[in-house]
Amino acid sequence: MSTPMIELRGIHKSYGAEKVLENLDLRMEKGGFTVLLGPSGCGKSTILRLIAGLETASAGEVLIDGASMREVQPGDRGIAMVFQNYALYPTMTVRENIEYGLKNGGIAKKERDRRIAEIAELVGLGDYLKKKPQFLSGGQRQRVALARAMVKQPRIFLMDEPLSNLDAKLRGQLRKDLIELYRRLGSTFVYVTHDQVEAMSLGTKVILLEKGKIRQEATPEELYARPANVFSARFIGTPPMNIIEADPATSARFPGARHLGFRPEKARITVDRSAVPSGDLIFPGELVTHEMLGSEVLYQVNGPGWKVQVKLYENRRIPFGPVFIHVDRKDIFSFDGDGNSMESPAPGGNR
Amino acid sequence: MKALKARPYLMIAPAMTIFAVFALYPIIYMLYLSFFKWNMLGPKIFIGLKNYANLLSSKEFGKVFSNSLYYMALSVLLSIVISLAVALFLKKKTALNGFLRASIFAPYIISLVSVSLIWLWFMDLDYGLLNFILGLFGVKPVDWLSDSHMALTSLVIVSVWKGLGFNTLILASALQAIPEYLYEAAELDKAKPFSVFRSITLPMISPTLFFLALTNMIASLKAFETVALMTQGGPSNSTNTFVYYIYQNGFQFFKIGYASAAGVVMMLFIGAFTIAYFMVLDRRVHYR
């Protein structure tokens, strides 16, 4: 295996008494688009900032392309970063914003002008090079932030929730632009987000974090199809996987399982028990709500001690009241007492 | 940030030196000198607390003390009450109000010397315009500046006039910061105007009132130009205040030690009131 582009070894990071990261090991391959995903406070931004050099670890090493970054300043690591709030220099024009890093890097004027012209063309900034950030829209500002990063031709791009301040439509647009950019440049990307939809659509590899620990590290497909634990199962998916505590009846078929899970889109509803195919697991409950979401309908069914959501792609008029949920046995996931998946790992392994 | 360890110290050094030399050191030196008798030419003679004893027994200084107290209390009171009324009156953002606000601010930025001179002429007993205007309403001419019962109040009027613009400006922006929905809710609760003022407006601007009371208090104690140019401390010491008294004793009578002692007393006076301020009023201020 070749040298990873980015490696964290035995990283500890505390803020005062609060331990954010403890004994963390991480590797990111050259040319990959790695997404650091997790709820707020999980340490994903901290990891990003450690890579950037904006924070230093209490213990452990950060290596980039095999070299220790202990003595290396953020500006000298060959890294560019795009911030959540764009962090554009308010008193400089767009052009000056983009040029700043190049100037500090000692790049000659001719080369600077060339690169800026190229970037302006690529990102579509030509019209407002002379404007100041306060006169730009959110989407335009983000493009400038992107351009500022790209023009330095860094070996690594770091992005800290860059789309979270944009409205939904712009977000979708810029997401596509980012994917295209990645494909064109082929540099290493590290992207931080709390939005699992974003993570799934952008990343080649997703690292799911909770409270400073890596819960699962896999491709988006893996993450969806084979969650390693209850946390992963519940974090991924819209809506997330339904998790039910195994009762004596159903747990007979899953010995040792403490929780069972299934995806809303794999479940089905019927009022006629006899129509359920044999082999399916059956959960009797009561239909309480349904939400029409355009192409899909979301049903909520409550049972003894559990609530489950079912996603169907057809609008059947199921009356509120007693129903049966049934799921094909092969779509059921079992989790042990520690919350870990009991499925046998796929060939090739998760991690 | 891998900054040079010494860098922050270098950066604050020029300013800190100035403060140490021109603020800290003078206080200490003044305290030191207050225990001596000195006329700047001869030697310093240590006399312990005698200067303070003289101050306490001096009728003149007693007058100075009470004058300063009166001046401070009256100017703070008048300033705040009048500027609050004016700020409320000019609250709406109309062209007229904007013009008026600009007009009342003008005296604030010109020199106190200029203001003193204008009012000196304005308040002239025989030829001043003020007495003429009063005469139109049938009021007898007032001896603004040479009547020992009136003079100090006249000086207060001058400083209130000058400072109104500033106070109004600050109050106006504080009033503007009160969210409109509070008033709307009060309207729905059928609250009467005075009640609204008392329970909503006043509490919301109380931090500002506190700030203005403090700044006006300190400013009133610094008053020198009005005294020096309009009354020179008279008549019969009725307008002599701390600063003028120290000036007289230091620069006219050359009683350096005595003047220093007076300075120390002035400092304690300011300190005491500031502390009292914070302790008493701070509790009544509504902080968000």
């Binding site: 962090a87 | 300013a15 050191y25 003078p26 000198l33 700047m40 930025i109 010397v113 204008i118």
Partner: protein, 278 residues
């Protein structure tokens, strides 16, 4: 107050507005008018509200009563020098307090706080003695040095510096910016409104200052305009106080500040409001 509109009828409002206006306009008008009246006309009672024969002699008298041009030059020089000094003392100090953590910063900041509370009127005697000991009386240095740093300015500017979003500074670090570059190309431009507000306030304060020049000078050498104008009171012209000449001098003293006020009115009022929001 919300429904005060109902409480004050229109005529009442106009009357009060007129009253406020007059209270503030009349003294100024009266000053300007007196400045162009002759001595005889000035002493007329009842006074005239307009003058048919404006006399410009008063201004000449004012110019002649004291070394006017020298004082004017001194005012300009002293104000300008003080502002310049303050830039070099206040900006670095405010930056250091805002963005560095260093031992003793609390104590030094406390010193700054104390200095705000210590007015010249309290310390002028020891300062005079100090200047005298170094032979600096009647030297420009004596007027400039005591005001070479503004504690208040450090407060305001520190506040402004602290409000710069951390992200912008981090982006600068990622852009390989040196400390100096961050200060000059990012922090100072962002803080420009505050800095110019401070400059304006300082100019107005020093131009108008009567106290320090009075206390620290004993001759004409470095005296400033306010002292000169005040001395017009003592001019010998046959009457106790030649108000017409005094007002003429006064007018000259006021005009620069009023001009600046007219031009930069918004800026100035904004500057002082800023000051209010401690």
């Amino acid at each position: 107050m919300i429904r005060a509109r109902h409480a004050i009828p229109l005529t009442g409002r106009l009357l009060v507005s007129l009253l406020i206006f007059l209270v503030y306009f009349v003294p100024f008008y009266w000053m300007a008018l007196t400045a162009i009246k002759s001595k005889g006309e000035m002493l007329q009672f009842p006074p005239t509200f307009w003058t048919a024969h404006p006399s410009w002699d008063n201004f000449a008298a004012a110019f002649g009563a004291f070394p006017f041009w020298k004082y004017l030059w001194n005012s300009i020089l002293v104000s300008g020098s003080i502002i310049l000094c303050q830039i070099f003392t206040v900006v670095p100090a405010a930056y250091a307090f805002a963005r560095y953590r260093f031992k003793g910063s609390g104590i030094f900041f406390g010193l700054t706080l104390a200095s705000v509370m210590i007015p010249p009127q309290l310390v002028f005697l020891p300062v005079f003695l100090l200047m005298n000991r170094f032979g600096l009386i009647n030297h420009y240095a004596s007027l400039i040095l005591p005001q070479a740093a503004s504690a208040f300015g450090i407060f305001m500017l520190r506040q402004t510096f602290r409000q710069v979003p951390e992200e912008v500074l981090e982006a600068a670090r990622m852009d390989k910016a040196s400390e100096l570059s961050i200060i000059t190309r990012i922090m100072i431009p962002i803080a420009m409104p505050t800095i110019s507000a401070l400059g304006l306030i300082t100019f107005i304060g020093t131009w108008n200052d009567y106290f320090w020049p009075l206390v620290l000078t004993t001759s004409d050498a470095v005296r400033t305009l306010p002292v000169g104008v005040a001395s017009l009171k003592l001019l010998d012209s046959g009457i106790s106080i030649p108000y017409n000449v005094v007002m003429a001098g006064n007018l000259i003293l006021i005009i620069p500040v009023l001009l600046i006020y007219l031009i930069a009115q918004q800026r100035i009022t904004k500057a002082f409001t800023y000051m209010g929001e401690k």
